[in-house]
């Protein structure tokens, strides 16, 4: 795994963006590093609950896609300073502190595991 400094990774998460929406729990990722090509969104863990594939919906570059459809052949692009919205379908959110872990692959840096904490 490439050594991405944590402080760079944590810049990706938009602090305070964790929220409950009608379809589930949502949060924002802002790409402050450089143009990226997402080739796999393996999983997102909210506290102790794992979400994968069709349980995750992404809003990238003006359209909604399912995480299961993000592959090497059908990647999702995120330009510099663009924001993606992640929705964990059916998830609930209680007030308090939460931990999010995002496990993804990008064409540029390979596997990226991002763990952040946020307060609702």
């Amino acid at each position: 795994m490439i050594a991405i400094p944590k402080f760079l990774l944590q810049q990706l998460y938009v602090k305070g963006s964790l929220r409950l929406e009608p379809e589930g729990v949502a949060f924002d990722i802002k790409n402050s590093l450089g143009p990226g090509v997402l080739t796999r969104l393996s999983s997102i863990t909210l506290d102790d609950t794992l979400f994968t594939g069709a349980q995750i919906k992404l809003h990238v570059d003006g359209q909604w896609i399912s995480a299961k459809d993000v592959t090497e052949q059908t990647p999702a692009r995120l330009g510099l300073n663009q924001t993606a919205v992640c929705v964990l379908l059916g998830a609930s959110l209680s007030p308090g502190k939460h931990t999010l872990t995002v496990d993804l692959h990008s064409r540029e840096v390979g596997q990226v595991v991002l763990t952040v904490h946020d307060q609702v």
Binding site: M1, A3, P5, L33, P35, G79, L80, G110
Partner: protein, 917 residues
């Protein structure tokens, strides 16, 4: 290190003189002869680079702990001398880690084999862990290599580590190397390259720099990839706050890309990148205020023997401006245009401006990408600017610049001067073409499209309104239709240029040229082909970098346009390589203003070149484990093992056995009693085949082109009882072909090639194996084969042939072994799965049908004996585990599909002697 290297916000300075660093990377370890070093350095110099970026590769010099080799093709002292003789500066990068798609990222195999070492003080998950033993090993390497670097007079800076980071960004790894550098006497600035362009270590390192590769996936056209230039476009905004008193620099600016197994052939990558990519990216960086760049790589090379990392095949051409074969590409021509411009116009001290300069009127301002004001102009009365135009569309674009058309081709950027003072004392008030070069009497421009320029002078001057040019010149052929409308125009007088002259030039045919004069300034217009093949001849009076900016202490003495390549001989005179066809040329003597145009057709230029003939092939079986005793197998338990596998004492991979690379044979000889074993289980990196008593039971691959993906599970195969011999000794052999160590960028470089698992009916037999490395068939003579009983069909065969190197005279003709996979002969009946190609006993090619991209293998001078008449020997080892090859004439006949082919044919000649001064 006697030069004083300083820097400020704008640029580096050498002994107080500003320097725009135009560097290109060259891997000497991929060029296995000093003659190749000289040739490629000459070509870098000829293309206008003033600096060469050199990785110094630890693994290449240190085969064993405490052993170092700095002789012959590892003579870095001689390499550095060559750079000085050519007036090139050096960016020195001694690692310890270099990546470079070198096996193990350039860390020695013996170091990686020691699993108590933490390479780079970094655990596989990216966390920092200080490793004193690693630091001691690095210190020992630097104590060897730094004195060579310190002894060179032309080193600009020294890079510590390479693209380094940890998850928490601890400073110790970088800080310790900085301290070590100073302790070892390094006096030049210390630099580190940030691969994220995010300011990593900017607060620690002296010279912050970064790497930038926006294009590395070739399954789509970069021209249609949105956001490709996002990072490049934010460089100045992002990094200037971190570098208020340091120049902006990019250590590795994409000039190509490496091709992996299963990737594209380099010819295709060259085509896909095109000249637009390097031109667009480099000009964008200059528009962002960078005054130091290094094209990575500028020179291609070869992964000869086993120097490549797991993912790369033999060629490391890199789609570089100078190809692996040494030929120039159109990408070099594009880089050369930029380099010549930057060598003759001063862009070292500029600041961005949000508003265009006063007086500039654009019909389509959206094409203006960026504007920079010259801050250190020798003429304070001017308001010199450089305007950067960019067209990221698939169609040409034209804007009117003060009423004159400025055309941008698709995916093109152009650097356009505005009120820029010329070396002759006039001013280039506006221009809709990017200048190629200037001296104090000449301005050279490419007329590949219509353009206009306006010259400002202090007084009226004589003009020549036709293209007859300077009176005493003989200019043939003259372009009579050129519209040189030179006339004074003082409707908008300027204090520094009250008189203005405008030239409107049409597009010239690619090999046409023309000269117009305006007082003491001659304007040379060149068609596109002559612009690409424009070469400068500069005196080599000073062995140190002679590239300081205006006024030019050693300006070009002659300009020659037409030859495909320029080279230098060791005495500093100039020679050229002309394509083997009638080539128009222009030769301009800048001292006397004498000029000549003609066709280069003299001598042997148009003579046909006789093909190189291979002697008839001899084909023999070559699986030593199966056919004779006496091969020096050793029990793996008797191999001297370092404490590298504390958790796996039975490890018998290559690292554990001290081999580190290449091919290995594992052997188990045993009597078989009833009941015979029923299963074999095997796993090995990276390509393996299992033979029992000469018959292949299985073959497999433990390799994938996705870094750090889990490998396949071990393979268990049933063994029929008929395969065993109950009346004699059974011979179980495993052939393992390693592809090197991972380079350690995304992956774990301590993953060794070699055997990982070997079980007979579930019982681990690794400790009982014998081991022998390499293809010993290459070293055996007929005398060794006294008890040899040839096989009619074999899974491994050796094919031998020879060829004589021809007396080429003045021709330049790099050679390659050409496979013809599309022909019936090689693709079907021979059906080769893998093939190793040896030239004079040195591995120069690896063919792997399942992952093949390369069908022509360059024969590097040095391994290739280029003395006229010298006999060169080819050895091919063909491996076909599941489809045995016929031994003898049948296979030999099919090998006619292999030939020796030139990459190109050129004649090396000086320009006509009558023009010599």
């Amino acid at each position: 290190m006697s030069q004083k290297i300083t820097y400020d916000r704008y640029s580096f300075q050498v002994n107080g003189q500003r320097l725009f660093i135009r560097s290109g990377a060259m891997h000497y370890f991929r060029l296995p002869s000093q003659a190749l070093w000289w040739d490629r350095l000459c070509k870098l110099k000829a293309a206008g680079y003033n600096t060469v970026d050199l990785y110094f590769c630890w693994a290449y010099h240190s085969p064993a702990p405490g052993e170092y080799d700095f002789g012959g093709i590892r003579d870095v002292a001689r390499l550095l001398e060559m750079t000085q003789e050519l007036g090139l500066s050096v960016i020195a990068r001694p690692g310890p880690y270099i990546n470079a798609e070198y096996t193990g990222g350039g860390l020695p195999g013996w170091l990686l084999a020691d699993k108590t070492i933490v390479p780079r003080h970094r655990l596989p998950n990216g966390d920092f862990q200080w490793c004193e033993r690693y630091h001691q090993a690095v210190e020992a390497w630097w104590q060897q290599i730094i004195p060579f670097i310190r002894g060179a007079q032309n080193v600009l800076m020294l890079q510590v580590e390479n693209e380094y980071s940890t998850t928490e960004m601890e400073p110790e790894p970088i800080a310790s190397l900085m301290t070590l550098s100073r302790e070892l006497g390094v006096t030049v600035p210390l630099m580190h390259n940030d691969m994220f362009v995010m300011g990593l270590y900017a607060d620690l390192i002296e010279v912050y720099s970064f790497d930038h590769y926006p294009t590395f996936a070739f399954d789509e056209d970069w021209r249609r990839v949105p956001n490709m230039l996002d990072t490049a476009d934010c460089v100045e905004a992002r990094l200037r706050p971190l570098c208020p008193n340091r120049p902006l620099m990019v250590t590795e600016l994409q000039a190509g890309w490496f091709a992996p197994w299963q990737g594209l052939p380099y010819e295709r990558i060259q085509q896909m990148l095109g000249r637009q990519h390097i031109g667009l990216l480099t000009r964008t960086m200059i528009a962002q205020g960078l005054t130091a760049f290094s094209h990575y790589k500028a020179v291609g090379g070869t992964n000869w023997e086993h120097i490549g990392s797991t993912e790369t095949y033999t060629s490391y051409d890199f789609a570089a401006p100078i190809a692996e074969s040494g030929l120039n590409t159109e990408r070099l021509y594009e880089a050369k245009r930029l380099n010549f411009l930057l060598s003759s116009f001063d862009l070292t001290t500029t600041e961005p401006t949000d508003t265009p300069p006063a007086g500039l009127v654009l019909s389509h301002p959206e094409w203006l990408y960026r504007c920079r004001k010259v801050m250190d102009s020798p003429d304070p009365a001017t308001s010199a600017h450089w305007l950067f135009f960019r067209n990221l569309g698939a169609q040409s674009a034209t804007t009117q610049l003060n009423g004159q058309p400025l055309t941008l081709l698709p995916y093109e950027a152009r650097m356009i001067p505005w009120q820029v003072p010329l070396a002759c004392g006039y001013h280039l008030l506006s221009c809709t073409a990017e200048p190629l070069y200037q001296t104090d009497r000449w301005l050279v421009l490419c007329a590949d499209r219509p353009f206009s320029l306006t010259i400002g002078t202090q007084e009226t001057v004589q003009t020549t309104a036709t293209a007859k040019g300077v009176a005493e010149l003989t200019l043939v052929p003259i372009e009579p239709t050129i519209e040189a409308t030179l006339k004074p125009n003082s409707t908008e007088p300027m204090p520094h240029a009250p008189f203005q002259y405008q030239l409107r030039a049409p597009k010239l045919a690619e090999s046409e040229s023309a000269v117009v004069t305006l007082g003491q300034l001659n304007i040379l217009l060149l068609g596109s082909a002559l612009s690409d093949t424009l070469w400068l001849e500069t005196a080599f009076k000073n062995p140190l970098p002679n590239d300081s900016l205006s006024p030019h202490p050693e300006p070009a003495q002659r300009i020659v346009c037409g030859p495909a390549m320029q080279t230098l001989d060791p005495k500093g005179t100039f020679q050229y390589a002309w394509e083997l066809q009638a080539t128009p040329f222009v030769c301009l003597d800048l001292e006397t203003n004498r000029m000549e145009t003609d066709l280069m057709t003299a001598g042997t230029a148009l003579a046909p070149v006789a093909p190189i003939v291979l002697s008839p092939w001899t084909v023999t079986d070559a699986a030593p484990e199966m056919v004779w005793d006496g091969v020096p197998f050793q029990p793996v338990g008797q191999k001297q093992k370092p404490p590298q596998h504390p958790n796996d004492p039975a490890a018998v991979d290559f690292d554990a056995l001290g081999q580190y690379e290449g091919v290995g044979w594992y052997r188990l000889r045993f009597d078989c009693e009833h009941p015979c074993p029923q299963h074999l289980t095997v796993d090995a990196r990276h390509l393996w085949s299992v033979y029992l008593n000469g018959q292949c039971l299985a073959s497999g691959t433990h390799w994938q082109n996705q870094p750090d993906m889990p490998g396949p599970p071990p393979v268990t195969v049933p063994v029929p009882s008929s395969a065993w011999q109950t009346d004699s000794v059974n011979d179980l052999c495993i052939l393992v072909d390693g592809l090197g160590h991972p380079k350690g960028f995304h992956d774990d470089m301590q993953k060794s090639p070699g055997l990982l698992v070997c079980q007979v009916d579930g019982r681990d037999v690794r400790a009982e194996l014998l081991f022998s490395g390499g293809f010993h068939a290459l070293r055996l003579t007929d005398g060794d084969r006294a008890d040899y009983h040839p096989l009619e069909h074999s899974p491994v065969v050796r094919c031998q042939s020879t060829f004589s190197y021809p007396d080429l005279g003045s021709l330049v003709m790099p050679l390659g072994i050409q496979l013809k996979p599309s022909t019936h002969e090689l693709a079907q009946p021979l059906n080769v799965h893998r093939m190793n190609l040896y030239l004079n006993g040195v591995l120069v090619g690896r063919y792997w049908a399942d992952c093949q991209a390369q069908t022509c293998f360059y024969l590097p001078e040095g391994i290739l004996d280029t003395r006229p008449g010298a006999l060169n020997q080819l050895d091919l080892i063909l491996i076909n585990p599941n489809n045995y090859l016929p031994v003898g004439a049948e296979t030999a006949k099919r090998l006619q599909a292999i030939s020796i082919q030139p990459y190109g044919v050129f004649t090396k000649q000086r320009v006509p002697a009558k023009l010599n001064v």
